[in-house]
Symmetry: C2
């Protein structure tokens, strides 16, 4: 396993971590100031900045872009809704390419409004990724399916285990050419009894495109906005990183913390300093 104890270059800042405090430009400057090696913008912050301008700022700061968050949200109640989602995903692919992202993260979407048909939603997801894949391949932009915790199955993502994500990749990317893979976020998958096996499976196919870290707090007071800093919760992050690296992953570890009542209220330079300290010792 790689030694992170004296490293910051393999740390990437997902902008959600300081979502409430900083613009993308401030995030880029902050990463540069702290010696953080990578960044992963969310699209709202990228749109504020403008993709072309952001690309220049990121390049000038010498940062890698470990992913763009997010494409996906494929299921919709109507064909027009699904087409709008696909169009938006194509723009996301283009923006990801503009800023030199290593992948476009796909949060695949949940149930269409009024629907209770999760199997149907999962078929819409498969069809949506299939439809997007050609455009993504043409643009050289790998798509990373991120399984989300089952508590988001209804409203954010109906792909809830790494096995499902691997199955999707097997079904849609039969020649495993690198155009479709998975993102492993410890928050979403730490509980899964099949995690080690499915990480190995993804790695064997060269499909681990991202590794995201934060922690699961006990108690967790909000389903969305109460993630913990690495080390403050119950996830054995080094064990999972070990599995990911044993499966061949050589990329960054991306810190993504949604924390309305704690980290989003702190001085953002302190947040970054804490991310660095925990990356050295708790990841």
């Amino acid at each position: 396993m790689r030694d992170f104890s004296n490293d910051t270059t393999l740390l990437s800042l997902n902008t959600a971590t300081v979502n409430a405090q900083w613009t993308l430009e401030q995030c880029i400057a902050g990463c540069a100031r702290h010696g953080i090696g990578g960044i992963a913008p969310w699209r709202d912050k990228l749109d504020e900045c403008g993709a072309a301008r952001a690309a220049g700022l990121i390049r000038d700061a010498g940062l890698r872009v470990t992913g763009l968050c997010r494409g996906g949200l494929f299921p919709a109640a109507t064909p027009a809704g699904r087409q709008a989602a696909l169009d938006d995903n194509r723009r996301a692919v283009d923006d990801a390419a503009t800023i030199g992202a290593e992948c476009l993260i796909l949060v695949v979407g949940g149930l269409p409004a009024g629907s209770k048909d999760i199997a149907g939603a999962r078929m819409q997801v498969r069809d949506g990724i299939a439809a997007l894949l050609e455009h993504a391949r043409a643009g050289g932009m790998p798509l990373a399916v991120e399984p989300l915790h089952p508590m988001y199955a209804a409203d954010r993502a109906c792909v809830n285990t790494l096995r499902q994500a691997n199955d999707l990749c097997d079904a849609l990317d039969t020649d495993a050419d690198g155009g479709l893979g998975v993102a492993v976020d410890v928050y979403h998958v730490w509980w899964d009894p099949d995690l080690e096996a499915e990480i190995a499976r993804a790695g064997a196919a060269g499909r681990i495109l991202g590794f995201h870290v934060c922690d699961w707090l006990v108690p967790t007071t909000d389903l969305l906005l109460d993630r913990g800093m690495m080390g403050d919760g119950v996830i054995d992050i080094p064990k999972i990183r070990g599995w990911v690296e044993a499966a061949g992953y050589g990329g960054a570890s991306e810190v993504e913390i949604f924390s309305r009542d704690n980290w989003w209220r702190r001085e953002p330079d302190d947040v970054l300093a804490t991310c660095i300290a925990r990356h050295r010792t708790m990841v």
Copy 2:
């Protein structure tokens, strides 16, 4: 599938549904008043009432007891803690027998304090159930492993899928004599892509000991206390009931709703009337 449209006898009231309003004695009287066929007490309410006295009240009211909630909580940081859990579970088995329960529900427990070792917790659960099983068999009390939603993996139950529960049964109950089985609560398992197959697997072994209903609300505002009334959320309950009955289940449907800010604040007779109406139309 059985016709529930004119039925209340196959409905069972889990006392958690009116947890804030009624004692067990009031729950028993309420079920009798509304023609509800079954009841499933929680242990705190049973202890208040006294198991022997409760047994008489339940018998006099003509109610079936679809389960006692709950045994389990096996993992502990020390051998003394594990022994205390086992002793408490044996008392739960005895109380379940006293009130004529059809099974003792096992909420197996999460991580011991300070632990990040979920695989170890799962081994403690297996060992705990194995240790309890002899006492339960001697008392003729089936144990029902209830997989809990993965959002409870850390603090309530590290058995998070029906597959895990089935695997535990296969490992510990090799002759499938009915002493160990599973409880299927739609709230915990509705998202699982393997659900239909694992229900069939449990049914083929004669291991479906309980079927619990409520609904998953969008949005869900609390991880524990924001469950919905059947029909108010996104779970396709009839589909899951169809799978359970196709697998041979002929028992009751037990309504278990933790709802601090809604159903626990309502007049409890209205809550029961709503349970009955939704049982006829949404289950």
